[in-house]
C-alpha cells in the first residue's frame, strides 16, 4: 500500500464523514482492493484515472440524496392518491343540486352514489349531503307554492266578478301566504346553499 493511496483514501473518508458509514466503507474497500497489489506507479496512474476524491465523494452524496428525494416524492403524493380527484366533489354537488333537473331522477341518483362512494367525506357529511339533496324538492315546492295560490285566486276572481276581466299585463297579486312564504323560502334556501358550501370545504380540508 502506497502513501499516496493512504492519503487519497483518508481524504475521501473525511469528505464522506456525513455519509452512511456502511456505504462509505464499501466504497473505500472497493478502491483499496483494486490498488492493494499494484506498484506505486501503477497505483498513482489508477488514482489519476479515478479523479479527485472530492468528485468521487460528490458522486456518492448526490446519488444518495437523489434517491432519497425520489423516494420522498411518491410519499408526498399519497394523500391525493388516497382521496378523490379535484373535480369529484364539484361534480357530485352539481348532480345533487341540479342533476335531477337536467337528467330527471338519474342525475340525482348518480349524485347520491358519488356522494356515498366518496373517500373525501365522512359518514356525517354523507348523511348531511343526502338530507340537503332531499331538501332540493322541498325548495322547488316552496318556490312554486305562491304561484299555485295566485292562480287559484285569479280563477276565483274571474268566476266571481263576471263582468270585469283582469288585465293580462298586470301580474296577479298574491295576498296572505306571500310574506310567510318569502321568509321561509329565503331561510331554507340560505341554509341549503350554506350546507353545500360546508360540504365542499369539508372535502377540500380532508384532501
Amino acid at each position: 500500500m502506497t502513501t499516496t493511496v493512504d492519503a487519497y483514501l483518508a481524504e475521501l473518508e473525511q469528505l464522506l464523514a456525513a455519509a452512511d458509514p456502511v456505504l462509505r466503507q464499501e466504497l473505500v474497500d472497493g478502491i483499496r482492493e483494486e490498488l492493494a497489489g499494484v506498484s506505486p506507479d501503477a497505483a498513482d496512474a489508477r488514482l489519476r484515472e479515478l479523479g479527485d476524491p472530492a468528485r468521487v465523494a460528490v458522486g456518492l452524496l448526490s446519488e444518495t440524496q437523489g434517491a432519497a428525494r425520489a423516494a420522498a416524492a411518491p410519499a408526498r403524493q399519497e394523500p391525493t392518491q388516497d382521496g378523490d380527484a379535484a373535480w369529484y366533489p364539484i361534480v357530485t354537488l352539481l348532480l345533487l343540486t341540479i342533476g335531477g333537473i337536467v337528467v330527471p331522477v338519474i342525475g340525482w341518483l348518480a349524485g347520491l352514489i358519488m356522494l356515498w362512494a366518496a373517500r373525501g367525506w365522512r359518514i356525517l357529511h354523507k348523511v348531511a349531503g343526502t338530507a340537503l339533496a332531499l331538501t332540493g324538492p322541498l325548495l322547488v315546492f316552496l318556490g312554486l307554492f305562491p304561484w299555485s295560490v295566485a292562480e287559484t285566486s285569479t280563477v276565483t276572481q274571474i268566476s266571481g266578478s263576471g263582468s270585469s276581466s283582469p288585465n293580462p299585463l298586470i301580474p296577479p297579486v298574491v295576498e296572505a301566504p306571500f310574506p310567510v312564504w318569502l321568509v321561509v323560502f329565503v331561510v331554507v334556501f340560505a341554509a341549503w346553499v350554506a350546507g353545500w358550501i360546508w360540504l365542499l370545504i369539508a372535502h377540500r380540508t380532508r384532501r
Binding site: V22, L23, E26, L27, D29, G30, I31, R32, E33, E34, L35, A36, G37, V38, L50, G51, R55, V56, A57, V58, G59, L60, L61, S62, E63, T64, G66, A67
Partner: protein, 114 residues
Amino acid sequence: MTARSEHATQLRRGVVEACILGLLAREPMYGWQLADKLISGGEIIASIGTLYPVLTRLRERGEVSSFHAPSESGPPRRYYELTAAGRQSLQAFRDDWGAFTASVTDFITPEETP
C-alpha cells in the same frame, strides 16, 4: 470531463440500475470493474462514488448479492452478482425499453417536409 446537461444526467440516472443488472447478468464483477465499464462505456456514472449507492439499493431490493473471492494480486475482492429477482427485473426492463425508445424516437424525430 465536461459538465453534463440536465437531461443527460436524468437519462443516465434512469438507466443506471438496468445497466448494472445487464453487466452482472454476463458475469459477477467487483466494484472497480463495474465502475470502469460504466464510465468508459458511455459515462453512465460520473465516478465510482455514484456506483455504491446504486449497488446498495439493488442489494436492498434483493436484485443483487455480494460475495468475497480471492484476488490474484491483493486481498479478497467483493464481487457482485445477479439474483433471480435481479434477472426478473432486468427482463422487465428489457421488455419496456424497446417500446419506450421507439416511442421517444417517434416523438423527437423531426417531421419530413413534403
